[in-house]
């Protein structure tokens, strides 16, 4: 007899565990419930719950004399955000985040395009390694490394000097706002390090989006008379847009919330993250810290809403 004939037509279930498998197979909804039971409380209570607690805090205010929190609903804390000193922090952070996002997208796109369209085999592996490697080392180490690179005695200055381009660097540093005593204590330095640190988060989603664009759509555009510029504008870019948006969510929100980079590299002027850190720590003004935290959330929500309205996710 063949092996097949020895197998029973309807195999008996063998163990309690097997019986459980059968039961779940026949009741997929129950299975889903079991699957989600452990992570849902985590997400619901610890994650979203703490967020709502934070939101709630922002509607309280602090008593300026006693330093105690006044548990009465008020919009005073939000009004405080609008005083020049605080509003400058918000504006500074949002502009920095927007510039970092824009620069990241511009630098990431060609790299992602190469990886998605041309890199094969070991070159692709090398690409992933090159993009991910910086993520494996400590964030603080990288930021301090950049402080040394950008310092007046650093390698960048040395390089500019050797290329006889010190005048260029000096001219840049003499500019208002973006300039400063040296790159490591200027907005330019903060910007460079932000772009460096968040770059992988921009490259990978764009690469994933480009990878999903069939080659024959590019060919179809050319076939219909679209020159490379038109093909990019009307086909490649719109189809990569969900990836660019996904990447920009990372770079934008990470920049909005970061408090370490601007503290180590940059002028002493505060960013939102530093303001939150200062308010909830030394100042003990939890409501104001909470209100500051709400700002990035609102900005991101608005940003996504705009993106959706402009049809950025139509190709998904």
């Amino acid at each position: 007899m063949s092996v097949v004939a020895e197998n029973p037509i309807l195999a008996r279930r063998t163990s309690t565990f097997g019986r459980l498998s059968d039961y779940f197979w026949l009741n997929p909804k129950l299975f889903l419930l079991m699957l989600l039971a452990p992570p849902l409380p985590w997400l619901g209570i610890i994650y979203l719950g703490s967020l709502f607690a934070l939101l709630l805090q922002s509607f309280f205010s602090i008593d300026e004399f006693s330093g105690l929190i006044n548990y009465e609903f008020t919009l005073d804390t939000y009004r405080q955000l609008l005083i020049p000193a605080n509003f400058d922090i918000i504006l500074r952070t949002v502009i920095m985040a927007a510039l970092v996002t824009l620069a990241s997208a511009l630098i990431a796109f060609p790299i992602a395009y190469y990886a998605a369209r041309y890199a094969r085999g070991k070159w692709k592996a090398l690409f992933y390694l090159a993009v991910m490697l910086p993520l494996w080392s400590s964030y603080l180490v990288k930021v301090y490394a950049w402080k040394l690179i950008l310092a007046k005695e650093g390698i960048l200055n040395w390089g500019f000097a050797k290329l006889h381009l010190t005048w260029l660097l000096d001219a840049w540093l003499a500019l208002p706002v973006v300039g400063g005593n040296s790159l490591s204590i200027s907005y330019t330095g903060t910007f460079i390090v932000f772009v460096y640190v968040w770059m992988p988060f921009m490259i990978l989603p764009i690469q994933a989006a480009l990878e999903r664009v069939p080659v024959n759509l590019i060919e179809a555009s050319a076939d219909l008379g679209g020159n490379p510029g038109q093909t990019f504008r009307h086909v490649l870019f719109p189809l990569a847009l969900p990836g660019i948006i996904a990447g920009s969510i990372f770079t934008f929100s990470l920049t909005l919330g970061d408090y370490i980079i601007p503290q180590i590299i940059g002028s002493s002027r505060l960013f939102i993250g530093q303001a939150v850190y200062a308010q909830q720590g030394t100042a003990g003004n939890i409501p104001l810290a909470a209100a500051f935290t709400v700002v990035p959330i609102v900005i991101m929500g608005f940003y996504l809403w705009m993106a959706k309205k402009r049809g950025a996710f139509d190709a998904l």
Partner: protein
């Protein structure tokens, strides 16, 4: 006038000769089919015409103008892609109007032209939908409208019916043929389906291993195959070995014999005949297919369904008219 001219055109990818010294002259207004198995070079030839590939050797002319070095977007040639390649982020109307849009035609004008093109392929009013909301057959029509709206001098079709089911395919074959006649545009059609090529094309080039095996009318290719490959690939011809052909009273060359040319029995006075044993029979609806083994060769015969089918294992005599056997150029 010659629409597309290939002079000794080659396209080699390293050691792989995808297209090897191909000569073609496609006439204006012709419905030209390139037929062959996958990897035979037919699609690469189409891509050379579209401009997606550049030849590694030889010379290509489109309406008398040298095509080498001209990118696809500067060729008045349009393609209907195998899987349609519709832009997923654009509506059907925007898809069809795309070619006019990149050429800078005003919005109102191009949308009107796209509307008309959709009506021509029997999809009026579908403009606001997205490609994802359409069936395969409808997408195929949209791809056709998107190409034709540009009034191309040559329309290239890359297995456009391959993804459709049989019934729809037959219907689209007729529609394509009618459309080509009414528009007078040169159609170049790539297919691996010999039935499609035979029924639609004015002329067929049969491809194998990067070369054109035979170029001729459907009747030529079907009835007078020049090589064993053509005889085998186009239809289900019996390819007879030189020794067997010799035993039937012909010169010792390879020959093809269509299954439907064979009849049971001795036949008339000038018929040729041979005897064999029935090894298999199958019912095909309108006909019965009989496989007979004679002198070690398996020969298929198509018999009308009305004729009695001799059972497996019986000895039979098969006959055919002497002129139905086609001697091929290939010697032994």
């Amino acid at each position: 006038m010659t629409a597309v001219l290939f002079e000794n055109v080659s396209r080699h990818f390293g050691a792989v000769r995808a297209v090897d010294s191909v000569n073609l002259a496609i006439a204006e207004g012709e419905f030209f089919a390139m037929l062959g198995p996958s990897g035979s070079g037919k699609t690469t030839c189409l891509r050379l015409m579209a401009g997606f590939e550049q030849p590694t050797g030889g010379h290509i002319e489109i309406f008398g103008e040298t095509a080498e070095g001209v990118p696809p977007y500067r060729r008045n040639v349009n393609t209907v892609f195998q899987d349609y390649a519709l832009f997923p982020h654009l509506s059907i109307l925007e898809n069809v109007a795309y070619g006019l849009m990149v050429r800078g035609i005003a919005k109102a004008e191009r949308l009107k032209a796209a509307e008309n093109a959709l009506a021509m392929v029997k999809l009026p009013g579908y403009g606001s939908r997205r490609p994802g909301q359409l069936s395969g057959g409808q997408r195929q029509r949209v791809a056709l409208a998107r190409a034709l709206v540009n009034r191309p001098r040559v329309l290239l079709l890359d297995e456009p019916l391959g993804a459709l089911d049989l019934k729809l395919r037959e219907q689209m074959q007729e529609e394509l043929k009618a459309l080509q006649k009414s528009l007078g545009i040169t159609f170049v059609f790539v297919t691996h389906d010999q039935g499609e090529a035979l029924s639609m094309a004015d002329r067929i080039a049969v491809f194998n291993e990067g070369r054109v095996q035979q170029l001729g009318t459907p009747e030529d290719v079907y009835k007078r195959p020049q090589t064993r490959f053509v005889a085998d690939f186009v239809g289900s011809s019996n390819v007879l070995a030189p020794s067997f052909v010799h035993s039937l009273g012909y010169p010792a060359r390879y020959a093809s014999l269509r299954p439907e040319a064979l009849a049971l029995g001795e036949g008339g006075s000038n018929a040729r005949r041979f005897s064999g044993t029935v090894v298999a029979t199958s019912f095909l609806g309108a006909t019965n297919r009989l496989t007979v083994e004679a002198a070690g060769t398996r020969i298929a015969a198509m018999l009308p369904a009305s004729a009695a089918v001799p059972p497996q294992g019986t000895g039979v005599t098969l006959s055919f008219a002497a002129e139905d056997l086609h001697l091929m150029d290939e010697a032994a």
